[in-house]
């Protein structure tokens, strides 16, 4: 597993996790039709760290929501591990999110009435083969903040709890929507380091969406989106450490 993750560019080692084909998404906003995605074809590979880069309105969040089973495309197909997400029922999508996907959000979305540890336990209690919540918090360097409530944590700490919550169930994919969007650069780096560590050590397929081009350099692949289309795909020869990033 780890070998594969370390050599994502080797075509022989590529196992497709997501197969996205001809996906379009049209929103009806009042009388105006918004074409958020206009025919996306994309494969994401196992263990890969992908950054989806684009300006706001480029369609990157819509794509992530469809990958995460929160939204369904107007047209096209999304296959996950051989199954068709676009044909899944509401119940199956809930199951999919519950057992296979870890989410990290721009605004953390922690449960304010639960401590750091409990925010993780709330997910591990319903997962199939989770890690210990304490273990997950140690992975993000918060082993000493177990019993703090969200209101007692800084923004960066809250986001790291959110990452720990996302990885604690040992998900197959980790989907992050602007994880550093609400943070200053210094705190942002700490959060990205946590994401990178998870990707490296656990081999979790990771997709991060951002409008911050600087982050792109830590990814295996960078997918550029503009106006609902993929405009460009870059592969990084060498991934930079988060501390080396400039933004």
């Amino acid at each position: 597993m780890l070998e594969l993750a370390k050599n994502p560019d080797n075509p022989m080692n590529k196992e497709v996790v997501f197969h996205v084909h001809g996906v379009t998404k049209i929103y009806q906003m009042g009388e105006v039709q918004v074409r958020a995605l206009r025919g996306i074809d994309l494969d994401l590979y196992k263990g890969e760290f992908t950054v989806l880069l684009g300006a706001s309105g480029s369609g990157k969040s819509t794509l992530l929501n469809i990958l995460g089973g929160l939204d369904s495309p107007t047209d096209g197909h999304v296959q996950y591990a051989g199954g068709d997400l676009t044909r899944a029922s509401e119940k199956e999508l809930t199951k999919y999110r519950r057992y296979h996907v870890g989410f990290v959000f721009q605004f953390y979305n922690l449960i304010p009435s639960l401590t750091a540890l409990e925010n993780i336990a709330v997910v591990t209690e319903i997962a199939k083969s989770p890690m210990q919540p304490e273990e997950a918090l140690k992975l993000v360097d918060l082993g000493d903040r177990l019993h703090h409530f969200p209101a007692q944590l800084s923004g960066g700490e809250q986001q790291r709890v959110a990452i720990a919550r996302a990885i604690a169930k040992n998900p197959d994919v980790l989907l992050c929507d602007e994880p550093t969007g609400a943070l200053d650069s210094k705190t942002g780096i700490v959060v990205l380091e946590a994401l990178q560590r998870v990707n490296r050590e656990l081999g979790t397929t990771t997709a991060v969406i951002t409008h911050n081009a600087g982050i792109a350099q830590m990814a295996d692949r960078v997918i550029h989106l503009a106006d609902g289309r993929i405009s460009q795909v870059d592969s990084n020869e060498t991934r930079l450490e988060p501390s080396q990033l400039s933004w």
């Binding site: 929501n65 809930t94 959000f105 721009q106 605004f107 449960i111 009435s113 209690e125 929507d177």
Partner: protein, 776 residues
């Protein structure tokens, strides 16, 4: 939807306020006008026989305005096709007149022709109960002689708004009627030509205001009538029908004060909760308005207007509902009592009060939230609110934590973070439960009264009342009737019981000490043994006279030789109906020095012979009337069934609207406040049911705590009402059956379930995508 739920609570509050007060005003107004228009007398006296020449002496009493003498008697009636015994109260009417005082209200037909001995006017309730019409015939046994009488008119009388046969405990229009006949034939039948046995009078000062010298007139009249077999003069406030009506109005007043207070309290709480929430959601708009230069006052007014709009809407509908329910209630009262008409009164001040109280309560409840919104500096208002602060709860700190799942912890911590709101929500639901209990309580209390009175204390099947006191031998002729299993004699003497300066006019009962048909009970329903000498008083009477066992009671006998006795009080007995004194029959006869005489007998009979026994008793000239409880109780239940149904319907409506209003509103607010975290959990893979648990678990917890709390509140409300309803006529026992608790809990549970279903459906609309992109 939430505005509708709030409006619903206000509608209920205003509705019940207007219903109660307008019914009360209508009853007072109707009674006043009825009394005034029909010259209801101020003072009433009954006597054995006095010559008409005595009227001059009565008229000479200072303060007396008009005097009217009558001939009256108790008779047995017969209606074809109806076999039960019927007792009647027959009164004389002056020629071509509805009477000088206590004028009858002729609903249909005409007055009897002067001198005609076969024409009567009959009370409307009786006519309706038997489906009779003018022109129909009934027969009466007048002074031992059976006579066919033609109904020529149907009437009501201010004297008989509440109609109860002497000796009976409940109104029974099938077995008791009032009839009026021309004076001359009635006088002839009872040897009252040139004489009278009943006198009523009005006092000169005003027609409806009792004058200050009422007691003086009563004493003077008592003095005059003493030599003519007077059995005591009473004022209007002691007149039986008027007494009952007054008690009923007192009950109405109690209800009219308790219920609206509860409803307005709940409405104020809900408004407060909703408006606070609304303001929190509109922080940014408020800030924008203020940044544009709107004043605090202008922003505050905006919310006040919103609140007043919802409340105003509720008030208007509430007034309509209140009038509808008030008219319904008034009509029920009109039917329940013999009132000729009902003047529905809705005083403008009641409407104004309802509107002002609602508005004031609503505005006060929201003022604080509005005040803090208006005061918010614009820059601060534009910032998102900080994450809410939570703590581990007491339950968890006590070591229960390891057994609690994370969602359960969320529930507990959320409740603990807003203790006041949680408490108010629980209290609101509990109030709904309490209100429900009040309606069940009335029915249960009546059942218990009947059970104790007629199941345990008075166990006879029928009572034969004699025309004149008779010797103990009279029992033999009763016992010899086929089907009579047991006959026990009793003696009832009218008397005035006095202790220190307090007195009470009632009846002294002489009963068999080891009889099995009439038994006195103590508070625990154990049988009290009658002492050889001494008197047992109804507990409430002892309280009224402030007399206790061992004290000497003064008894002024108001019949026969009218002697005054001193008798020690031996104890008290628990009784829910009436106030009486009890002695051994033998001891009473010894004290009265009138030999062994009885005024009636209690009979236990074989059911199969009941009809025959009635028929035979009717034929006995010495038997003035037969009272039978079972059918009286049945018909009483028929009479009040509609009223009870209406009350239950109204209180169920009100109780469930409170429960629903409180539950749905608090849940709806909780949903909108916690929308974000619930949607986040859905994103994390929680199913709708699992997310619903967090909201509905809280609701379930509130409901489960609220129900026992509601039982306590309901018990308190019922106790308060029972205490308020207590009078010398009856005491309402505080008996709450398991069914009362069960029904109240059921209504609350159903309201919870309906709210829960609606909330569960709302959960389907949680927008998972939106919450990921929004700030707190």
């Amino acid at each position: 939807m939430q505005a509708i739920a709030i409006a619903m609570v206000i509608v209920s509050g205003v509705g019940i306020f207007i219903m109660s007060l307008s019914t009360l005003d209508s009853l007072y107004e109707t009674r006043e006008s009825y009394y005034r228009d029909n010259h209801f007398a101020h003072i009433f006296a009954h006597l054995k026989r006095a010559p008409l020449s005595l009227v001059k002496r009565i008229e000479a009493i200072p303060g007396v305005d008009k005097v009217e003498t009558r001939v009256m008697a108790y008779v047995n009636l017969d209606v074809e096709g109806f076999e039960d015994p019927i007792s009647g109260h027959i009164l004389s009417l002056p020629d071509n007149s509805r009477g000088l005082l206590n004028q009858i209200y002729l609903r249909e037909g005409r007055l009897p022709e002067p001198g005609r001995d076969n024409e009567i006017v009959l009370s409307e309730e009786f006519v309706q109960a038997h489906k009779l019409r003018p022109g129909d015939k009934i027969s009466a046994t007048i002074n031992g002689r059976r006579k066919a009488l033609t109904i020529v008119g149907i009437a009501l009388s201010p004297e008989f708004i509440y109609q109860i046969a002497p000796g009976a405990m409940f109104p029974d229009p099938l077995r008791y009627g009032v009839l009026w006949i021309a004076r001359q034939p009635l006088a002839t039948a009872y040897d009252m030509e040139g004489a009278f046995n009943d006198v009523t009078l009005t006092m000169s000062r005003g027609t409806n205001e009792p004058a200050a010298n009422e007691q003086e007139i009563i004493d003077r009249l008592d003095d005059i009538l003493k030599d003519y077999g007077g059995i005591g003069t009473i004022g209007r406030q002691d007149q039986f029908s008027n007494r009952f009506l007054t008690e009923e109005l007192k009950q109405q007043r109690t209800i009219a004060t308790i219920f609206p207070v509860i409803f307005f309290g709940v409405a104020a709480f809900l408004l407060n909760v909703v408006i606070s929430r609304l303001i929190r959601l509109q922080r940014e708009e408020i800030a924008t308005l203020k940044a544009f230069g709107y004043s605090d006052f202008a922003v505050g007014m905006h919310f006040i207007k919103l609140v007043l709009l919802i409340v105003g809407f509720g008030v208007i509908i509430g007034i309509g509902v209140g009038i509808w329910m008030g008219k319904g209630m008034s009509n029920i009262y009109m039917e329940l009592y013999s009132l000729p008409y009902m003047i529905y009164v809705l005083k403008p001040k009641v409407i104004i009060a309802a509107a002002l109280i609602s508005m004031a309560v609503a505005v006060m409840g929201t003022l604080y939230a509005v005040y803090s919104a208006a005061r918010l500096p614009p820059a601060q208002a534009m910032q998102p609110e900080l994450p809410a602060k939570y703590h581990t709860t007491l339950v968890e700190r006590l070591g229960m934590q390891r057994w609690l799942s994370q969602p359960t912890r969320m529930i507990l911590r959320h409740i603990e973070r807003r203790p006041l709101k949680s408490l108010m929500t629980t209290l609101g639901i509990a109030m709904a439960c309490g209100i429900m209990m009040v309606s069940g309580f009335q029915e249960g209390a009546i059942n218990y009264m009947v059970d104790v009175q007629y199941g345990m204390s008075q166990r006879e099947d029928m009572i034969a009342i004699y025309t004149e006191p008779a010797s103990k031998r009279s029992l033999y002729s009763l016992e010899s009737l086929q089907g009579v299993e047991l006959a026990e004699g009793f003696r009832i003497v009218p008397a005035r019981l006095k202790f220190e300066h307090r007195f009470y006019r009632t009846a002294l009962h002489g009963i068999e000490p080891d009889g099995s048909l009439y038994r006195l009970l103590d508070t625990n329903l154990n049988i009290i043994e009658l002492p050889e000498d001494g008197i047992i008083l109804t507990d409430y009477l002892a309280e009224l006279l402030r007399i206790k066992a061992g004290d000497m009671l003064t008894i002024e006998v108001l019949a026969g030789r009218r002697i005054t006795l001193q008798v020690p009080v031996a104890g008290t007995a628990k009784q829910y109906l009436g106030l009486n004194g009890y002695m051994r029959l033998e001891s009473l006869n010894v004290l009265l020095k009138e030999g062994h005489s009885l005024t009636g007998a209690l009979l236990k009979v074989d059911d199969r012979y009941q009809r025959d026994i009635y028929a035979k008793l009717k034929e006995m000239p010495r038997v003035a009337g037969v009272v039978e409880h079972e059918s009286a109780i049945e018909s009483f239940y028929d009479t009040i069934a509609e009223t009870i149904l209406f009350f239950t319907f109204i209180s169920t409506l009100l109780g469930s609207s409170i429960a629903f209003g409180v539950i749905y509103n608090s849940m709806r607010i909780a949903l909108s406040e916690r929308n974000r975290e619930l949607a986040s959990l859905r994103v994390l893979g929680f199913e709708r049911n699992e997310v619903a648990y967090i909201l509905l678990g809280e609701l379930a917890l509130f409901t489960l705590v609220a129900i026992p709390l509601g039982f306590l509140i309901g018990y308190g409300l019922c106790a308060y009402m029972a205490f308020q309803f207590d009078s010398d006529l009856y005491r309402v026992p505080l008996v709450l059956g398991i069914n009362v608790y069960a029904f109240s809990a059921l209504v609350v549970l159903l309201s919870s379930i309906v709210s829960a279903i609606m909330i569960w459906r709302n959960l389907a609309d949680l927008d998972m995508v939106a919450v990921l992109k929004s700030k707190e």
